[in-house]
């Protein structure tokens, strides 16, 4: 029953997780050490969405997966006095582009709102249909 709402809910959960990863990326913009304290720049996280079912006949929701961006190289800044500088004096900062993250955040937030509207429409449609019997 009410499968429409399930579909929108999966999207809401996915978009929220996307917002979470963007927030963690922004929080770790300048993190040069990992959780153990060793000098390793924070790897950017990102979320990939995939459809829940491949069957074109049934509308499907989304599932998300959080992946770590291991391919893009870190941002190297010449700071010889930094405790995490390597032998040549370069510090590896996370390759997180603030503007990119902002744009993604706006898009995720709009998608979240759009799915909320979809749920609201489903509820309204249902309430209208209740009037058949009123």
């Amino acid at each position: 029953m009410f499968g429409t709402i399930d579909i929108s809910t999966s999207a809401l959960i996915g978009e929220r997780q996307r917002m979470n990863t963007i927030a963690s990326n922004l929080a770790n913009l300048n993190t040069t050490r990992d959780a153990d304290g060793k000098a390793a720049p924070f790897q950017r996280r990102f979320v990939t969405f995939s459809a829940q079912s491949e069957n074109p006949d049934t509308p499907s929701g989304v599932t998300y997966q959080i992946s770590v961006d291991t391919t893009s190289p870190p941002r190297r800044v010449y700071e010889p006095g930094h405790p995490d500088a390597d032998k040549e004096g370069y510090v590896s900062y996370p390759n997180i582009d603030m503007m990119n993250e902002f744009v993604n955040a706006v898009e995720a937030s709009r998608a979240y709102e759009a799915n909320l509207v979809a749920i609201d429409m489903a509820k309204q449609g249902f309430n209208e249909s209740l009037k058949i019997l009123a």
């Binding site: 029953m1 249902f126 249909s129 209740l130 058949i132 019997l133």
Partner: protein, 104 residues
């Protein structure tokens, strides 16, 4: 005849003889069960609609593919058919009691 809907016995009037001229458009002396047929047919239809409405509701809650709209429209159709039948039956009862009072 005494068919019942949902176990409720809705008493039907005995079929009025067409010779007294109650059948709409019926020639005097034609077949005697015009109203009876009409009522029996509508009774069957009401019963059928009622049952399909109940089936739709059952399917809808038991997790099958029936949408809520289907169940609600089926219920409303059954409701309207029942109302129509009740009105027809009341009119028949009125006509019959009126005829009974006619001095012959």
């Amino acid at each position: 005849m005494s068919a019942s809907i949902n176990g409720l016995g809705i008493p039907l009037p005995p079929t009025a003889p067409a010779a007294s001229g109650v059948g709409p458009g019926s020639a005097p002396g034609s077949d005697t069960s015009l109203f009876g047929d009409l009522l029996a047919k509508s009774l069957g239809q009401v019963n059928g609609l009622e049952q399909s409405a109940q089936a739709a509701v059952e399917r809808s809650f038991a997790g099958d593919d029936t949408t809520q709209i289907e169940a609600m429209t089926a219920m409303k159709k059954a409701d309207l058919a029942l109302r129509l039948m009740i009105q027809v039956r009341n009119k028949i009862m009125d006509a019959y009691s009126e005829i009974k009072q006619m001095q012959m």
